[in-house]
Symmetry: C2
Subunit: 591 residues, 2 copies
């Protein structure tokens, strides 16, 4: 069993009791432990056997564009064929359109195995799931019948087409146009960039979800509508969408990042006019949780390599005396700072994974809760946690991968070792689906201040309950949690007051607030795991969990305090400096 | 004038008064402001015109190995020829062997311009300077006559051959053998890896500085001797050293990282037997300062791009109301977090550059001080600061480059933008010439505790003096400095006590101690710059310096406290976890 599979079982069964959780949802036949285990094992086997071996091949070969067609790296197509033959694409799809109807959180189990083995490959089916969700939520019955069966079977894949050259974080600037055709379809024209999986040879057809604007639409995000634009139209004829170029980029070389040119392409309006941004957010929020998880999965892959290396590599003697006197030097695992780096990685990976599955259960409840109250309560927490999962886990996950490189020393810089690829692949997770900066504004602005702290208060209540569970058994963690609850709340109230006076204080505090919130959230996750582990502290795995929890509280969590101090310095220190001085004169000169 | 040239003038003339500093050294004709300015301007011109244009070409093409010969990327050879024709290699060389005899700190000015424009290229002449220094310090007159003139002219280049497959951080494990030949030379046999500039087509000959071991030498680092092994021997015949392979790596593709096979190659012993490590440290300490500077130079290059982009890129409106109402959106420079990232980069780059030039003046004093007292006092500070410059500046420099990528959003991940290359190029600086971990052990173990804190005490005295200069003008900075002096000293005394009880506490505290020391050292540099800037606060450049100093104290320096708290948690939290739990079972299984 791989280390992540063992840890995932701990989370799914011991910590969060997913079988019990599923039994409380509105599902006819909720999956129990045997089915969940089988899915985890089989997904892991598929990823280990089919995807891991082509991960570095994908990095080296990248994708090739010739005559508008993209060829994926060796082995990508065969693996995708097998993936479909094994029915993986249909795991959580609607049963009415050929799906297996499993709850959404089960797709996180699948995603975990795929992303750990090969992120570039995993993105092809990953994008499809986003399109499936958007159609299931907002498509008409006809749309669903037209597109869902073959997306759910994997015969077709999907994309999300938001970004344009001058519209990145600011989607409202998008210029792509939609004009009605006589037959009820729409003519879509414009250029989209950075379209992951935008063109490839894995599937027969690609279903593009495109944001576009009617001529008379309101300006900004309120004038954006959502369309489906298939590469091959429903009548079997090629549509007017072509891949103009693919990007040379830092990592995820195996995934084609395309510029797509829509030239009076035929599109199908999804839902109502001018509601595209709202629909897109349904889909993007789920995608953001997955992106946070991607960083954790890559960090896991890097950790596995670094831990192996720390055991095998002999360099220098332990400062407290030789530990392997029969060898020319001790394994570097004896050196305290190597242990510190491995523990930091474990704290981020295992704490992050716990946060993702906790969030996954909230997604299930939001979508399949038995009543409106359960769905609404879960929704409040989910809204609050989503930018933390995306914004915080990608940042600390990226750092964790760099720690893995550091354990390899100079060998970490060499392609053969494989960890440097993970740094390059992971770097995108801090950028796509909304940068860290966008997540931070979403958290502090929309999710906390605009909602009078509803999510924070609900989460604080969970922390308070958990502190109660820690009392008497894990008093140090209980005290830590209670300190955080108060500090986080006080800090938020103080921020609300300064933001009311000066809106720039929001942007000035947001990223430090995100980091603070991330560290506090992981503290909750570690304390939850510690409570379970403490009940069985003799078991080596559980003892390791307890030790890592203590490490987290003592040696990682202090960073939260630095972020608090930084944000309390306020906006003036950022805004007072002149643009000229800030940019070393760039603001004074033309490009 | 580029922004870094303006800032360098500020440091060389306003803050550190290099003309005055040179006048106090043992130099016949100390360079004054006109000469220093001319060197800065000409070096900048060369770097801008010849090196910057081939930086991304070097990254894309990399080096090619065919039949034992390495071809460097297009333009590298021509640029090197011009570099030699312009007499840059001889800048600081010994006048007796054709050098211009300028003080060592002037080579930092040159290094700055080269590394900012093209790190991979800059490493070729950079390695030569290390060999020149080693020969000047430890070579015999014959060695000097044989090798120095053509190294100083640039006709030949140099390398440092330390690392072997099983000897990285632990140089004492090196197995390369030396056996005496009848003619007084030595036969060198062994394999060296990760040899930067180990084989290339820029110069006629390459002079390898090789660490090797006599058959009867003591084990470990005390049995290592230093040899010069020329690629082409002094009689004009090829020596028995071949490049076996070049590494595929994350960055610095334009520099050939070679495996070198020495097979009974002819070598010349430098200095005395078994003194190789000591000699190598002379050279390595200078190299470590340069490596710290490399990270800052790349961060400067990335900042320049990011600042330009922040001015030009229009996305979203300022939260406090439109700032460019005639445009479709505001420049992203208006957003507080973009300013925070730019200010963080400035704080690290300009503070780091100040630290490097401050250290450069200490190198001058150590080598050319007028009397033993001046040399010794400078040596104490230099020893103390060197691991901080290398260990801390590479870490925060790398983070600063990632901030620059973040400002570009998704565009930062695209090769065309050029910033992702800087992330990849910079990653090596945290690894080579001793990892961050090695620097941290060097700082806390050898430089602080083994020397009873002599360097820290001397630096604390400078901080105390500076706090006095801040009194009445910059009271906030004065208070900040005094707080740091006391905290740093108290923390160090407490550490001395726990390390005496348990040597593992040294390794457990070292990296956090390095970071704390780095932040404290940059606080000193920023306060020094602020004192000068405060005298002329109406000038926009000086006002920018003051604003950045305040930003540093308020929003960056709090991180030091998190490192203090982390290290005070002690070693148990790292050592108590079982190896099995720490490595998720890797310690229980063979590879």
């Amino acid at each position: 069993m791989t280390s992540s599979a063992r840890d995932t079982r701990f989370l799914l069964f011991d910590v969060f009791d997913f079988p019990g959780h599923y039994a409380q949802l509105d599902i006819v036949d909720p999956p129990g432990e045997p089915l969940i285990s089988a899915i985890l094992d089989e997904a892991q086997r598929f990823a280990d056997n089919e995807l891991a071996p082509i991960n570095s091949i994908g990095d080296q070969q990248g994708c090739r564009l010739e005559d508008g067609k993209v060829t994926t790296p060796d082995g990508f197509k065969a693996a995708y064929k097998l993936f479909c033959a094994n029915a993986w694409p249909s795991l959580t799809g609607d049963t009415r359109y050929g799906g297996q109807g499993l709850p959404d959180s089960m797709s996180l189990v699948l995603e975990q195995t795929l992303c750990t083995a090969n992120l570039a490959w995993a993105m092809y089916p990953g994008l499809s799931r986003g399109v499936i969700e958007a159609l299931e939520s907002h498509g008409s019955d006809v749309d669903k019948q037209n597109f869902l069966p073959r997306l759910i079977s994997g015969e077709w894949t999907g994309t999300m087409c938001l970004t344009e050259p001058h519209a990145g974080s600011d989607v409202g600037l998008a210029k792509t146009r939609a004009r009605p055709n006589a037959d009820g379809t729409y003519a879509i024209s414009g250029t989209k960039i950075f379209i992951s999986a935008g063109e490839h040879d894995l599937a027969d057809n690609i279903v593009h979800l495109v944001l576009a604007r009617f001529d008379d639409a309101p300006a900004g995000t309120r004038g954006i509508s959502m369309f489906v634009v298939p590469k091959i139209d429903l009548d079997g004829r090629p549509n007017n969408v072509v891949c103009g170029s693919i990007e040379e980029k830092m990592g995820i070389h195996g995934n084609a990042t395309c510029e797509l040119l829509f030239d009076v392409a035929r599109g199908y309006l999804i839902g109502e006019m001018n509601q595209g941004m709202r629909y897109m957010f349904t889909m993007m929020n789920a995608a953001r949780v997955v992106v946070g998880f991607q960083a954790i999965c890559l960090a896991q892959a890097a950790f596995d390599k670094a831990a192996r290396y720390a055991v095998d590599r002999l360099q220098m003697r332990s400062l407290s005396g030789p530990k392997a006197p029969d060898q020319p030097a001790d394994p570097i695992l004896v050196h305290p700072d190597v242990r510190r780096m491995l523990l930091t990685q474990k704290a981020v990976i295992e704490g992050g994974r716990a946060l993702v599955y906790f969030t996954g259960a909230l997604i299930d409840k939001t979508e399949r809760g038995r009543d409106e109250t359960q769905r609404a309560e879960a929704g409040v927490l989910l809204d609050f946690l989503t930018p933390i999962v995306k914004g915080f886990l990608t940042e600390v996950g990226f750092d964790a991968i760099n720690d893995a490189v550091q354990i390899f020393g100079g060998h970490g810089f060499i392609a053969e070792t494989g960890v440097e690829q993970m740094v390059r692949d992971a770097r995108i997770t801090l950028l796509y689906e909304g940068t860290t900066q966008i997540q931070a504004l979403d958290l502090l602005g929309r999710k906390v201040l605009m909602k009078q702290g509803a999510g924070l208060i609900a989460f604080g209540r969970l922390m308070e309950e958990l502190a109660g569970e820690c009392d008497g058994k894990l008093d140090d963690l209980a005290a830590g949690l209670r300190g955080l609850i108060k500090e986080w709340s006080d800090m938020t109230f103080a921020l609300a007051a300064v933001v009311a006076q000066n809106p720039d204080e929001l942007g000035a505090a947001s990223v430090d607030y995100l980091f603070y919130s991330g560290y506090a959230t992981l503290a909750y996750c570690w304390a939850r795991m510690a409570v379970v582990a403490a009940a069985d502290g003799e078991d080596p795995f559980m003892a390791g969990k307890l030790a890592t929890a203590r490490f987290y509280f003592k040696r990682v969590l202090p960073r939260a305090g630095a972020h608090k101090q930084a944000l309390e310095a306020g906006a003036d220190v950022l805004m007072d400096i002149s643009d000229e001085a800030l940019t070393n004169g760039a603001s004074q000169t033309g490009h």
